[in-house]
């Protein structure tokens, strides 16, 4: 049986591993290569590494770091950050990375998704959409952001996700800006809306604070990707840095919780 993908998401900032809250105040949590080694030992389903500096600083992906990550990583690796050309994507794949994530570049130029899909195959093209609940008294729905949520676009995330699927995306990651690092659960509303509009696999990111939150997502949407940062790098209410990941047994519980009462034994 195909299982939900439970995916640690690591953020790279100034060469180190950080965790943010609502896309702000990055807290240093360790060395990226060391984190990959630990997730290897824990047999993580996949790994997602996002460089949160590259696009904002207008620099190319850090290929030497990506090569080191790929060489160490024993599970499928998704890299994102600063990818805005076919050449970038091809070079990253050639370093041993399975999937390349595009975010800002896909929003401003959806045709790039098509060109990259033609070059590396659509199964390796991931689009990360940073979404945020519209704020304000009469505001309804969600908005799409880029550049670490400093730029907002007049696009409906749900229909835009669908158009990117048509353009060639093989997976859509919905990243909830307003839930980032808060560990109060995934935004199940947007998860359901995007999931129902898509044919390609969807992954949710932002808000997971417990394995139960993952089970709730699986219960709502079925076999999807459940990515998380804080959940897998922090322990306890004081957010002590401790890399952790569910065991095979806990993952089976998440799966069974999707169709039965939610009882998850926490580590």
């Amino acid at each position: 049986m195909l299982r939900p993908r439970i995916i640690p998401c690591l953020l790279i900032h100034k060469g180190g591993l950080v965790k943010t809250q609502v896309f702000k105040s990055p807290k240093y949590v360790g060395d990226p290569i060391n984190a990959v080694k630990i997730f290897n030992e824990k047999e993580s389903d996949e790994l997602m590494v996002l460089d949160i500096d590259a696009t904002v600083n207008c620099v190319e992906p850090n290929y030497s770091l990506i090569a080191k990550l790929a060489a160490e990583c024993r599970m499928p690796l998704t890299y994102g950050g600063g990818v805005n050309s076919v050449e970038h994507a091809k070079r990253i794949i050639d370093l041993g990375v399975e999937k390349v994530a595009i975010s800002a570049a896909a929003v401003t130029n959806p045709r790039l998704v098509t060109s990259i899909a033609q070059a590396i195959g659509r199964q390796s093209v991931v689009v990360v959409l940073d979404v945020r609940k519209k704020s304000g008294l009469l505001a309804k729905g969600y908005e799409l952001c880029t550049h670490n949520a400093k730029t907002t676009h007049k696009l409906d995330p749900v229909s835009f996700a669908k158009s990117l699927q048509e353009a060639g995306a093989g997976e859509i990651v919905v990243n909830s800006v307003d839930r980032d690092g808060l560990m109060n659960g995934y935004d199940l509303d947007i998860a359901e809306q995007v999931f129902e509009s898509l044919r390609v696999p969807m992954t949710m990111l932002g808000g997971a604070g417990s394995l139960q939150d993952i089970a709730l997502l699986v219960r709502k949407c079925g076999v999807v990707g459940a990515a998380a940062g804080s959940l897998f790098v922090f322990k306890g209410k004081y957010r002590a840095v401790l890399i952790n990941y569910p065991t095979v047994e806990q993952k089976e519980e998440i799966l069974s919780a999707a169709v039965s009462p939610l009882i998850i034994h926490h580590p």
Partner: protein, 204 residues
């Protein structure tokens, strides 16, 4: 030396990295000269079938590889689209496959079961392994592998099916015809299960 065939398509480095960790000598082969010392061959592949076949046909490697695999019996492992290339042809394209293992590559979407499912088939799934399969010898029970594909191999000869997996429908996931093997999922990224299979292939 295990040679990973580099015809411009597929994640060559992931195999080199994995064999390095296993302590087995492996390197990429980009030219016919690189193949001279090969005792095992890995044929990776990703993306569209025709693109992979065309790149392979134009790489200058097909002829020497056919001499090695079909002539001298050097063991080969096709992975993902590299496995699909072993077939006679694919519903995804118009180019003929290598026909090293007779069968056809079919689309999940064109099946009643597959039409309902998210595509590609992405993530960890179980394998049902045929008894006595050498690639799985001394493998841990209930092997799980990482999948990422929208087409599957339908093998003509059921005796050449080493393992199946189920995504909506049951499909052929590992095929073996003597020294020619193909695997749809990604052993290079499937933790201890994949490492064990790649090791088995190296010492077959």
């Amino acid at each position: 030396m295990i040679r990973i065939i580099d015809y411009g398509v597929g994640n060559i480095q992931a195999f080199v990295n994995m064999y390095k960790r296993l302590g087995l000598p492996a390197a990429r082969a980009k030219t016919p000269n690189d193949l001279a010392d090969a005792t095992r061959l890995v044929l990776p592949g990703v993306g569209a079938f025709d693109h992979a076949m065309q790149s392979f046909n134009m790489s200058g490697l097909r002829e020497p590889l056919e001499a090695m695999v079909l002539g001298r019996g050097v063991p080969v492992l096709g992975v993902c689209v590299g496995m699909q290339m072993l077939a006679s042809g694919s519903d995804e394209g118009v180019l003929p496959g290598l026909n090293w293992i007779p069968g056809r590559v079919r689309s999940f979407v064109n099946t009643p079961e597959g039409a309902q499912l998210a595509m590609p088939h992405m993530g960890w799934n179980d394998l049902q392994v045929a008894p006595g399969a050498k690639l799985f010898s001394e493998s841990q029970p209930q092997p799980r592998f990482y999948f990422l594909h929208s087409y599957y191999f339908a093998c003509d000869d059921r005796d050449q099916v080493t393992a199946t997996a189920t995504y909506g429908l049951k499909f052929d996931c590992v095929v073996s015809k003597g020294h020619i093997h193909g695997i749809q999922c990604h052993p290079e990224k499937s933790h201890r299960f994949g490492a064990h299979l790649l090791k088995n292939f190296a010492i077959l």
